[in-house]
């Protein structure tokens, strides 16, 4: 349904007073991915690896520096007005911060009905019905519609945000860290809600998360990002069972299991997440990679299909 090919996004950065070739943050550097109807793609990676940037490009909030994005086979840059309106109805989003996602000066009714097209042929009463229906769907009372956001807790606010994303009956929702800002006990509620909605409505999700457990709970396929690139993609269970890329391996081993008896040797990476203005040459992971070879320092590994359905970019394979 959504397909991205070779997306790049460079943000120019001011280099202080120096005049000369301006540097840029390579937030995304050649990312390709695909999400089919009803599917969930999990995107995991550390902060600054470009996850949000990818989400923003999919949501047409940022224009990619290079690469193409297609929706149902049609290039987004070639969209007509109608195409764009259709896209806006089909693709919705839920963001991380339930506080900044809702305008504090709007009533829930207006927040949730915002994505409904103004000339969509719905009367005022029908809109109001629709809002109450989705509120109920996300587990809020129908009469919440008249309240303001500050009357709700963080978890309830996230439900309102989800209700807004559902109101147009979209096909596809981008979830950017939907539970990271929520309390542990609320996370389960929201994750269950998202899962239930997907089964009920046949939605496709992209779930962006640095919490591997949350991603695993929802995702069917997984994409691991590092420094603006996808280093590994594959079926979720397969990746968790047998990570191919050394970074995926380290990431999975850094995720802490929930029982002290499962304490295990963690792969502790040296060093820091690379500077996105000047990513390392060769494989971007090589300064931290426990398995780095000489060739990794100079030659950039290409993404290849190692096994059926398993793509990774590493010289080990």
């Amino acid at each position: 349904m959504i397909e991205a090919v070779g997306l790049k996004k460079y943000f120019p950065v001011s280099t202080g007073f120096a005049i000369g070739p301006s540097a840029s943050v390579k937030a995304l550097d050649g990312v390709s991915m695909k999400v089919g109807a009803g599917e969930t793609l999990g995107i995991v990676g550390e902060s600054g690896s470009g996850k949000t940037t990818l989400a923003k490009i999919i949501l047409l909030l940022e224009r990619p520096t290079a690469g193409s994005l297609r929706f149902d086979g049609k290039e987004v840059t070639a969209f007509t007005r109608d195409d764009l309106a259709r896209y806006r109805r089909s693709v919705q989003a839920v963001f991380q911060d339930p506080y900044s996602s809702l305008n504090p000066r709007m009533r829930v009714e207006h927040i949730v009905s915002e994505p409904l097209p103004r000339d969509g042929g719905l009367s005022r009463a029908e809109k109001s019905d629709r809002v109450r229906e989705v509120l109920q769907l996300v587990g809020l009372r129908r009469d919440s519609a008249g309240l303001y956001p500050h009357e709700f807790s963080g978890g309830q606010r996230q439900r309102i945000a989800i209700a807004r994303a559902l109101v147009t009956y979209p096909k596809f929702i981008v979830l950017d860290e939907p539970v990271s800002a929520l309390d542990v006990s609320i996370r389960a509620q929201i994750l269950n809600l998202l899962k239930g909605l997907q089964e009920k409505l046949g939605l496709a999700y992209v779930i962006i998360s640095h919490d591997l457990a949350a991603a695993r709970y929802l995702a069917t396929r997984l994409a691991v990002m590092y420094a603006g690139k996808l280093v590994e993609t594959g079926e979720c269970d397969a990746v968790y069972a047998e990570p191919l890329h050394p970074y995926t391996e380290a990431l999975l081993s850094a995720a802490l299991p929930l029982h002290p008896s499962a304490r295990r040797q963690r792969i502790v990476l040296r060093g820091e997440v690379p500077n996105p203005v000047k990513p390392p040459a060769g494989c971007r992971f090589h300064p931290r990679c426990p398995k780095a070879m000489e060739r990794c320092e100079t030659e950039e590994p290409a993404a290849r299909e190692i096994k059926p359905g398993r793509v990774t970019a590493c010289h080990l394979y």
Partner: protein, 306 residues
């Protein structure tokens, strides 16, 4: 939060209420006509002085006009000029500030350049030049003041807009397919209203002083209207002999400006949107101030900010 800003400034509030009531009921309060005097009654001192007369509690000016009545009617002029000038420049400045902040880029640079020019105009010079080329009139006073005032609104509102624009609900409105006009009107504007209120109040003092200055210079409110500035100007030849002509309008102006500024400061402390957000959150979940954020901010939030 400093404790001092919590209490409503009663003193300032009382003065402002008095001022407004005075302006509204001026015809009933004023003992005499503010514009017509009896030349035989000129330069009578206030009632508590030797030679003072009960008919003129604060004395009379050189045309025999009652100072108290003129001060009372003067509040009308100050109020009307402030309201109109602030309304006009506020509307204009806010609209430009919103557009400038939301659009960014070239539009922003251009509009803010204009605002900078506006801010750097030598107030008095421009005022004198502009009013001098035409007749002194109410309309001109208001236009001149507005011209000098709008950049203050535009700048502040733009700054505020830049912050609000980064909030997720704005991005989500774009995702919802809404136009810029809708976003500015429904999302950004309601969130700058508190700031707008604060700046407006803080400008009242400035406007009253500016109007006073213009009138004092003879390019403001045309005589014989009882503008405070005009009265001060009138009395300056008699400072040694009939100080009351100058003192009472001066005091009125001083108190008013002080009161609105106090009020503005208080409003700013109370309507600051950030403080308000915290305040409204506190209703659901008691305020947690020096304690580190109760809701966990993911790694994401931290890195995005930095």
């Amino acid at each position: 939060m400093p404790a001092r800003s919590r209490e409503l400034p009663w003193f300032a509030g009382a003065i402002l209420v008095t001022l407004v009531l005075t302006a509204v009921f001026a015809p009933y309060l004023a003992p005499q006509s503010p514009t017509e005097g009896d030349i035989t009654q000129k330069l009578i001192p206030p009632v508590w002085m030797e030679r003072g007369e009960g008919r003129h509690p604060l004395g009379t000016d050189r045309f025999g006009r009652d100072v108290l009545s003129r001060v009372i009617y003067g509040s009308r002029i100050s109020l009307v000029v402030s309201l109109l000038a602030i309304g006009l420049s506020g509307t204009f400045g806010t609209a430009l500030g919103l557009i400038s902040g939301y659009r960014g880029g070239f539009t922003d640079s251009l509009l803010m350049r204009f605002a900078d020019i506006g801010l750097s105009l030598p107030t008095i010079l421009i005022a004198v030049v502009l009013v001098a080329v035409s007749e002194p009139s109410f309309r001109n006073v208001i236009l001149v003041i507005s011209l000098l005032l709008w950049p203050r609104f535009a700048r502040q509102i733009r700054g505020e807009t830049l912050g609000i624009k980064e909030q997720d609900f704005v991005a989500l409105a774009v995702v919802a397919g809404r136009s810029s006009t809708w976003i500015i009107c429904r999302h950004i504007f309601p969130n700058v209203v508190p700031t707008l209120l604060v700046i407006s109040t803080l400008q009242v003092g400035y406007v009253i002083l500016l109007e006073g200055t213009l009138s004092f210079l003879g390019v403001g409110v045309p005589p014989p209207n009882p503008a405070w500035g005009l009265m001060i100007a009138d009395g300056r030849g008699f400072l040694a002999t009939a100080w009351w002509i100058t003192l009472f309008p001066g005091l009125a102006m001083l108190l008013t400006v002080l009161a609105v500024n106090l009020m503005g400061d208080w409003l700013r402390d109370h309507l600051d949107p950030k403080l308000r957000q915290l305040g409204s959150r506190a209703e659901a979940e008691p305020a947690i101030e020096p304690v580190p954020e109760a809701r966990p901010r993911g790694a994401a939030a931290g890195a995005d900010g930095g």
